[in-house]
C-alpha cells in the first residue's frame, strides 16, 4: 500500500512569500547592513549578493522559558574521570550557567547571537536603490520606439496554432459543411425518391438496370457526403496580433569626472565609486537611459565606460571644457525636446583661476534651461573654492533642478548618492 510520486517538477520557491515577509519585517536592519556593505565594497564589487547579519535578540520569537538560577540537574554522556560527590568550579565565573554542555559556543566562526543569511544580488540591489529615482523625468516626444506591445488586430487566415480562434474556425467549418453538402443531399433525396417509385412499381414493370443505377448513385452520394471533413485547414482562423509601439521616456545621463592632477588616487576612487553606483542604479531601474561618459582635465573627452572607470590620465583642470563638450553633444545628438537630460559631475573643486565664472555662464546661459537635473559632488576634505561658489549661485537660481553635495570620505558616497536621488513628492 505504498506509492511513489515524483514531485521534482513541482514549483520551487514555495517559501518565497515567507522569505519576502521576513525581509519586509526586518527592512530597517537589512538596510543598515546594506549601507555598511556598500561603503565597504570595492568599486568592481557591486554585482553580487550580500551576507546580512541581524542580532538574534532582535528577531527572536519569545516564549516562556526558565532563566538562570535555581537548582537544575543535567545528565550528560562521556564521563571520564568524575566520581560521585566531585565538586567542580562553575564555568564562566559565577554567572550560574546551565552547567556543562548546554549553550557552548558554536564552532562555526560566527557567534550564536547573530542571525546570518544571504541576500541574492537582486535583493541586495533592491535594497541599495530602494526609494531612489531620477527627478523630473518627463514624457517627451515618443520617437525611439523600441518597445512595442502586441495588440489584437482582428482575425487572419494564417497564424500559429497557439492563437487559433476556435469559435471562428468552427463557424467557418459549419458554413462550409452546409454549403458543400446541400447539393449532394438534394441529389441523394431525388435518387432515393426515384428508387422508391421504381420499387413500388409492379415487379413486371420494374427496370432492374435502373434500380442498380439508382442504388449505386445513392452509395456514391453517401460516400461523398461522408467524405466532407468536419474541419478543414481552410476553415481555420487565427487571432491576429500586431505590434503597437509603446510610449517611453527617453533619458540620457552625462557623467563628468575630473581626472586632473589635483585629484589624488583616493579622490578618483571615490569619484568612480559614485559613478558606478549611479551606473548600476540607471542600468537597473531605467532600461531606456543612455549614458555618456565625459572625463576632463584641461581638455574634455567623451570616452566609453571601460576607459571612464579604468584609464589613468592626468593634467591641469578646466571644468568648462567638459561643460562645453556636454553642450555640443546635446546639440548634436540629444535634442532637449525629445530627451530628458541629466548631468552628474564629480570634481575636487579645483579649477583654473577664472574658469569658474565661465562655467557659471555656460550653465546659466545654455545648459540649465535644457537639463532636467544637474548634480554636482565635490570630493574634498578642504574648504570650498571658486567652483563651489559659482555653482552655489546656480543652485540659488534653479533650486529644483540643481543639487550639490560634498563627499569627504568613502563612507559619504552612499548617503550623498541617496540624498541626490531620493524620491521627491510629485509636484
Amino acid at each position: 500500500m505504498s506509492y511513489f510520486i515524483d514531485r521534482r517538477p513541482n514549483a520551487r520557491h514555495k517559501s518565497a512569500v515567507n522569505r519576502q515577509r521576513f525581509l519586509q519585517r526586518y527592512r530597517s536592519h537589512i538596510k543598515r547592513a546594506v549601507e555598511e556593505s556598500v561603503n565597504r565594497r570595492s568599486i568592481t564589487d557591486m554585482e553580487r549578493g550580500e551576507k546580512v547579519s541581524i542580532p538574534t535578540k532582535d528577531i527572536s520569537e519569545p516564549s516562556f522559558q526558565h532563566g538562570p538560577g535555581g537548582r537544575r540537574t543535567v545528565v550528560s554522556p562521556g564521563n571520564k574521570e568524575f566520581a560521585e560527590g566531585d565538586r567542580l568550579r562553575r564555568p564562566g565565573g559565577g554567572g550560574g550557567g546551565g552547567g556543562s554542555g548546554e549553550g557552548q559556543a558554536g564552532n562555526q566562526g560566527e557567534g550564536m547571537d547573530e542571525f546570518v543569511f544571504s541576500l541574492s544580488r537582486e535583493e541586495f540591489l533592491d535594497f541599495v536603490f530602494d526609494g531612489l529615482e531620477l527627478p523630473h523625468l518627463e514624457r517627451k516626444q515618443l520617437q525611439v520606439l523600441e518597445e512595442t506591445r502586441p495588440v489584437r488586430a482582428g482575425i487572419s487566415k494564417e497564424g500559429v496554432p497557439a492563437r487559433i480562434n476556435i469559435v471562428r474556425s468552427m463557424r467557418e467549418a459549419q458554413a462550409r459543411r452546409i454549403g458543400m453538402r446541400a447539393p449532394l443531399k438534394r441529389a441523394l433525396r431525388e435518387a432515393q425518391e426515384a428508387l422508391d417509385i421504381e420499387e413500388r412499381k409492379d415487379p413486371v414493370l420494374r427496370n432492374p438496370a435502373r434500380i442498380d443505377e439508382l442504388k449505386s448513385e445513392i452509395t456514391r452520394l453517401e460516400k461523398r457526403i461522408a467524405s466532407i471533413p468536419f474541419l478543414d485547414t481552410y476553415d481555420l482562423r487565427y487571432n491576429h496580433l500586431t505590434h503597437q509601439p509603446m510610449p517611453s521616456n527617453q533619458a540620457v545621463m552625462f557623467c563628468i569626472m575630473d581626472v586632473s592632477g589635483s585629484m589624488t588616487q583616493a579622490h578618483k576612487d571615490i569619484g568612480k565609486r559614485f559613478f558606478l553606483l549611479l551606473y548600476l542604479f540607471l542600468e537597473r531601474n531605467y532600461e531606456k537611459v543612455e549614458l555618456v561618459f565625459v572625463r576632463h582635465h584641461t581638455v574634455a573627452k567623451e570616452v566609453d565606460e571601460e576607459e571612464f572607470f579604468y584609464s589613468r590620465e592626468t593634467g591641469g583642470t578646466i571644468v568648462s571644457s567638459a561643460l562645453t563638450l556636454v553642450n555640443s553633444i546635446i546639440e548634436a545628438r540629444y535634442a532637449p525636446e525629445q530627451w530628458n537630460l541629466y548631468v552628474a559631475q564629480a570634481s575636487d573643486g579645483d579649477n583654473w583661476d577664472d574658469d569658474s565664472s565661465t562655467c557659471l555662464e555656460l550653465l546659466n546661459e545654455s545648459l540649465m534651461c535644457k537639463l532636467q537635473y544637474f548634480t554636482y559632488v565635490e570630493i574634498t576634505p578642504h574648504a570650498h573654492q571658486a567652483l563651489w561658489e559659482a555653482y552655489d549661485t546656480v543652485r540659488a537660481a534653479y533650486p529644483e533642478r540643481f543639487a550639490m553635495q560634498q563627499i569627504v570620505q568613502a563612507e559619504d558616497i552612499y548617503p550623498v548618492f541617496r540624498e541626490l536621488f531620493r524620491q521627491r513628492a510629485q509636484g
Binding site: R7, N10, R21, S63, G67, V75, S76, P77, R90
Partner: protein
C-alpha cells in the same frame, strides 16, 4: 535461508529499484508486525526539501515571516556546507507522507524508506500519544483550511494585522495544548462548516462574560440565571473566575479575551490546534528516532542477509548509520546535547538484548521483560510510553555504562557544581530519574496557568507560575507578556509561586512609578 540476487547495486537509484526495495521492506515489516499507514513517498529536490524544512514539516502552511527566517537559516547553513540536509522528512498523516531527496544515493533511499516509511510511520500509528492527540487522516485537510482562512483574513484585515496576531499566538503556542483532556479531532470539513456558526456563538459567550450590567438578582426567582444551563462557566456566581486554573492559555484567550474579533479568535484556534498536533512529537523525540533507527538497522541487516543488497551498499549503510548514532562526549567540540538517535537506538537495542540474552543484572532490574518475546516487548514499549516514562521504565544500567552518563547538579545556592551520580551501582537509579525529568515537558517548560481574570474589577488577567526547583523565569518573559496584553487587551499580571507562596510579581504594562508615589 536462500540468498537471493541483489535488487540493484551501485549508488544510482531508479523508480523500479525503489519500488522493488519498498516491496521487500514491506514484506519484512509485516513479518515484524510493523503496522503502518499507507505510504506516500515523494521524490523532491534539495530546494524543495529546504522549503519543507522551513515550514516545520507541514506540507502546506499559512504564510508567516518566521517560516521565512527558518528557510533563510537552513539555506545559509546548507550553502556553507555546514549541514547536510536531513535526507528524510516524514509527516504524521494518513497516508503517511515521506520525502526522499533526489540527491540521495540508492543506499540512502532504501535506508530512508526503512527509517521513515516503516519506522516513523508505525510509531505514528502505534504510539498512544499520537493515537490520543492527533488525527492523521485530517491533518492535511486542516492545514489547507488554515492556510486559506489566514489568507482570507490577510486580504480582509491586512497582512500586518494578521502577522501581529500570529506573532502573539506563536509566543504562546506551547501553552496552547490540553495536556490531559483529549481534544476533539480536527477535520477540515467540519471546521469550515462550523466556523461561521462558531464565530457568532463565541461572541455571544464573550459578550455575556463581559456584560457590564450586573445581573439583577431576583430573590423570588431563586437566581434562575445561575443554574448550570444558563451560566455554564459560573460567571455570575461569586468567586474567582475561572474557578479552576487553566493550563491552556490560548484556549482561555480564544474563549474569553474581551476585545478579540471573531476572525482573531479563529486564528488563535488555528495556532492552538496546530500546537496540539505537534504536542506528541515534542514528547517522543528519543523514542520516535530510536524506534525508526532500530528498525532501519534491523531491516537493512535483513535485506543484506537475504542477499537483496550487496556488500557495497551494506558498507555504505554501516558508515552512515554509525555517524547517525554517534554520541560525542560532553567535553567534545562536537557535543550538542544528548543525541536522541543514539540514546533511542541504544535503548531499543538493549531491550531486544534483555529479552534475548538477559544477564543476572537484567533479571534483577527487569524481571518482567528479561527473557520475554522481544518483538512483543518492543511493540509494547513503543505503544505505551513517552520519552519521560520510557526512560524511567527502560533505561538499563548497561546503557548508562555504555554512554558513561553522569549527572551534575547546578544549584545557585552552592558555590560549585557537584557530580551527583555516575555510572555505578549507587548512581544508576538517580541518573535514570534525572534523565527522565530532563525529558519531561513539564520540567522543560515553566508551569504557567491562568489564575484569575478580574471580570468585575480592572479586567486584568493574572497568571500563576509554579516554580520548579526555584528556577525563575527567563528574560523572554516580558515580550511574551506584551503579546498576552495584546491578545487580552487589559493589564497582565504574573505571579511566581514557590510552595504556595508568591515569590515574585510581574506586570505588563509596567505600572508608572509616578502614579504610585502620588
Amino acid at each position: 535461508m536462500t540468498r537471493r540476487k541483489p535488487i540493484a547495486t551501485g549508488s544510482d537509484w531508479n523508480f523500479e529499484a525503489l519500488e522493488s526495495y519498498e516491496r521487500a521492506i514491506a514484506e519484512l515489516a509485516r513479518e515484524y508486525r510493523l503496522d503502518t499507514y499507507p505510504n506516500q513517498i515523494e521524490i523532491i529536490t534539495s530546494e524543495q526539501m529546504m522549503d519543507a524544512y522551513a515550514s516545520v514539516g507541514m506540507p502546506i502552511g499559512y504564510h508567516h515571516w518566521s517560516f521565512g527566517k527558518q528557510f533563510l537559516s537552513v539555506e545559509q547553513a546548507y550553502r556553507r556546507g555546514q549541514m547536510g540536509l536531513a535526507y528524510e522528512l516524514v509527516i504524521n498523516s494518513d497516508p503517511c507522507i515521506a520525502y526522499l531527496m533526489e540527491e540521495n544515493s540508492l543506499m540512502m533511499q532504501v535506508l530512508v524508506i526503512a527509517h521513515a516509511c516503516y519506522g516513523h510511520n508505525s510509531f505514528f500509528k502505534g504510539n498512544y500519544l499520537f493515537r490520543t492527540w492527533t488525527d492523521a487522516s485530517a491533518i492535511v485537510d486542516y492545514l489547507v483550511f488554515a492556510r486559506s482562512y489566514v489568507a482570507k483574513c490577510e486580504e480582509r484585515h491586512g497582512v500586518e494585522a494578521v502577522e501581529q496576531l500570529l506573532d502573539a499566538c506563536h509566543a504562546l503556542q506551547n501553552y496552547g495544548v490540553d495536556r490531559y483532556k483529549r481534544p476533539s479531532p480536527i477535520s477540515a470539513d467540519e471546521e469550515a462548516r462550523r466556523q461561521e456558526e462558531r464565530e457568532a456563538y463565541l461572541q455571544t459567550q464573550v459578550n455575556r462574560l463581559w456584560s457590564t450590567i450586573p445581573p439583577v438578582v431576583s430573590e423570588l426567582a431563586q437566581e434562575p440565571l445561575h443554574d448550570h444551563e444558563n451560566d455554564p462557566l459560573g460567571l455570575h456566581r461569586h468567586g474567582r473566575y475561572p474557578s479552576e486554573p487553566q493550563e491552556n492559555l490560548l484556549y482561555f484567550l480564544e474563549k474569553n479575551a474581551p476585545l478579540l474579533e471573531p476572525w482573531q479568535r479563529e486564528i488563535v484556534r488555528i495556532v492552538r490546534k496546530l500546537a496540539q498536533y505537534f504536542y506528541p512529537q515534542r514528547q517522543t523525540q528519543v523514542m520516535n528516532e530510536g524506534w525508526a533507527t532500530f528498525w532501519h538497522y534491523t531491516l537493512m541487516n535483513r535485506l543484506y542477509d537475504d542477499g537483496l543488497i550487496d556488500e557495497g551498499i551494506m558498507l555504505e549503510f554501516l558508515q552512515s548509520h554509525t555517524s547517525v548514532i554517534t554520541q560525542p562526549g560532553f567535553d567534545s567540540p562536537y557535543f550538542n546535547g544528548i543525541n536522541p538517535y543514539a540514546l533511542g537506538f541504544a535503548m531499543f537495542s538493549d531491550i531486544q538484548r534483555i529479552c534475548r540474552a538477559p544477564t543476572e543484572e537484567d533479571r534483577e532490574w527487569f524481571p518482567d521483560i528479561a527473557g520475554s518475546d522481544w518483538l512483543e516487548t518492543l511493540h509494547f514499549a513503543m505503544q505505551n510510553f513517552k520519552d519521560e516514562s520510557f526512560i524511567q521504565q527502560f533505561l538499563s544500567p548497561k546503557v548508562i555504562r555504555d554512554l558513561k552518563l553522569f549527572s551534575l547538579v547546578d544549584d545557585d545556592r552552592d558555590d560549585s557544581l557537584q557530580i551527583e551520580a555516575i555510572h555505578d551501582d549507587r548512581g544508576y537509579r538517580r541518573i535514570r530519574e534525572a534523565l527522565s525529568v530532563q525529558y519531561a515537558l513539564s520540567a522543560r517548560e515553566p508551569n504557567i496557568q491562568v489564575w484569575e481574570a478580574d471580570i468585575r474589577g480592572d479586567r486584568s488577567l493574572t497568571l500563576r507560575h509554579v516554580q520548579d526547583r526555584r528556577r525563575p523565569l527567563g528574560q523572554s518573559l516580558f515580550p511574551v507578556m506584551r503579546y498576552l496584553h495584546q491578545l487580552w487587551g487589559f493589564p497582565i499580571k504574573l505571579e511566581s509561586t514557590e510552595e504556595g507562596d508568591i515569590v515574585r510579581r510581574y506586570q505588563w504594562p509596567i505600572p508608572e512609578p509616578t502614579r504610585e508615589s502620588a
